[in-house]
Symmetry: C2
Subunit: 230 residues, 2 copies
């Protein structure tokens, strides 16, 4: 059971290590410039491979994008879905706000979702289905949290849980673009906390979430992972 006996058994193969580097580079470059403006050769050069080498690991550009997104979702799921929004709505919302605070330390991650989600509005985009589902899921979770919270609040608050869920998601998304365009002017976290204050939630002391320091193996039961059908 010592670390020595475990480390050699789980050492990633050369291919797995290269795949991880490809995913990291693709995430970074897609985040910077979007899917269409980044070529396979760009990503491959960033990794230190040829584009044909990259295509040995991933069957094509579109499946690479889906894998980048799914990979990041599994990371988020570990944080967000350890709390049930109906059982602990306040804690769930606190985690959501914590995600915003953490995101301010990872502009690349913010940019990835901001950039690709708007591209994915186009039904022909490889990640279109992925984002339709992702937003539906998040709205559902947040609506459940606000509904549960309202049921526990006396006097009962006068907000519509579904509209409020849409608003909170919108504030978070909308602030990303503004922040990316003017990071010195726009304070994402303060604005989200201020929004929550508007609906009666005090998260002014919400602690930050842990950084993305490690990328452990993907969880086999990924809730947020959308397997693309393309």
């Amino acid at each position: 059971m010592s670390d020595q006996t475990q480390a050699p058994a789980v050492r990633p193969s050369k291919g797995e290590r290269t795949r991880a580097r490809i995913l990291a580079s693709a995430a970074e470059l897609f985040a910077a410039s979007g899917f269409h403006a980044v070529s396979l050769r760009d990503i491959a050069a960033h990794v230190g491979l040829t584009h044909a080498g990259l295509l040995h690991h991933f069957p094509g550009k579109e499946s690479l994008l889906i894998e980048v997104l799914s990979h990041r979702d599994r990371e988020d799921a570990k944080v967000l879905f350890r709390v049930d929004p109906e059982d602990s709505p306040q804690e769930f919302l606190r985690l959501i706000v914590g995600v915003v605070h953490r995101n301010m330390r990872t502009p690349g991650l913010v940019s990835l979702y901001a950039k690709i989600s708007t591209e994915a509005v186009d039904p022909a985009h490889p990640a279109h289905t992925y984002f339709v589902r992702r937003y539906a899921l998040l709205r559902g979770q947040l609506t459940a949290a606000f509904t549960a919270l309202a049921a526990r609040t006396d006097p009962r608050p006068d907000y519509d849980p579904e509209l409020t869920a849409q608003m909170l998601l919108a504030v978070m998304d909308g602030l990303q673009t503004q922040w990316l365009l003017a990071p010195a002017t726009v304070d994402m976290h303060a604005a989200v906390v201020a929004f929550c204050a508007r609906i009666g939630l005090d998260f002014s002391d919400a602690p930050p979430l842990p950084d993305h320091r490690s990328d452990p193996e993907p969880s086999p039961t990924s809730i947020m992972s959308a397997e693309a059908e393309t």
Copy 2:
């Protein structure tokens, strides 16, 4: 001074008419798929020209994009800037909400700004400077409106005008992407009105703005037009 003496003198030339069709097609296609995923040949075919014919009217793809954006700004400016945010803050905010309501009838226009603004986060993007300025201007105007509104409200409201401006812009922007991805589920207008209710503004009866039915000549004093320096 009769209409008959004016109409022949101001009839657009063939070139002007073609330019207008190019701008409309470019706006539509950029809105659908973004700058990078649309080629000049796509736009030209949509107009019914060759791409070389298109390039007779616009010196290049990048300047075409800037012109599309500036053109739409002049249209918005006519609506938004007929009211001074400091003199009539409530009326100004009412117009902002009216813009959202109107936008629900023009998915293409919504998509254009949503799509290109996130692309433009990339400093190498042709519209980067344009959007940095646009957001700064809008934040300034909204901050001025909320500041003036707070000064006229007794007891003084407890919101920070600058954060609130960021939040309102964020809600409007963030709702666009959600709406474009799930138009049957997300009600942009209701969510924005609900947000305003959260800060003490009742716009539940805000009237819609006029449609984009006509495209009159550009105003010579366009406030929101950002002349690109590229």
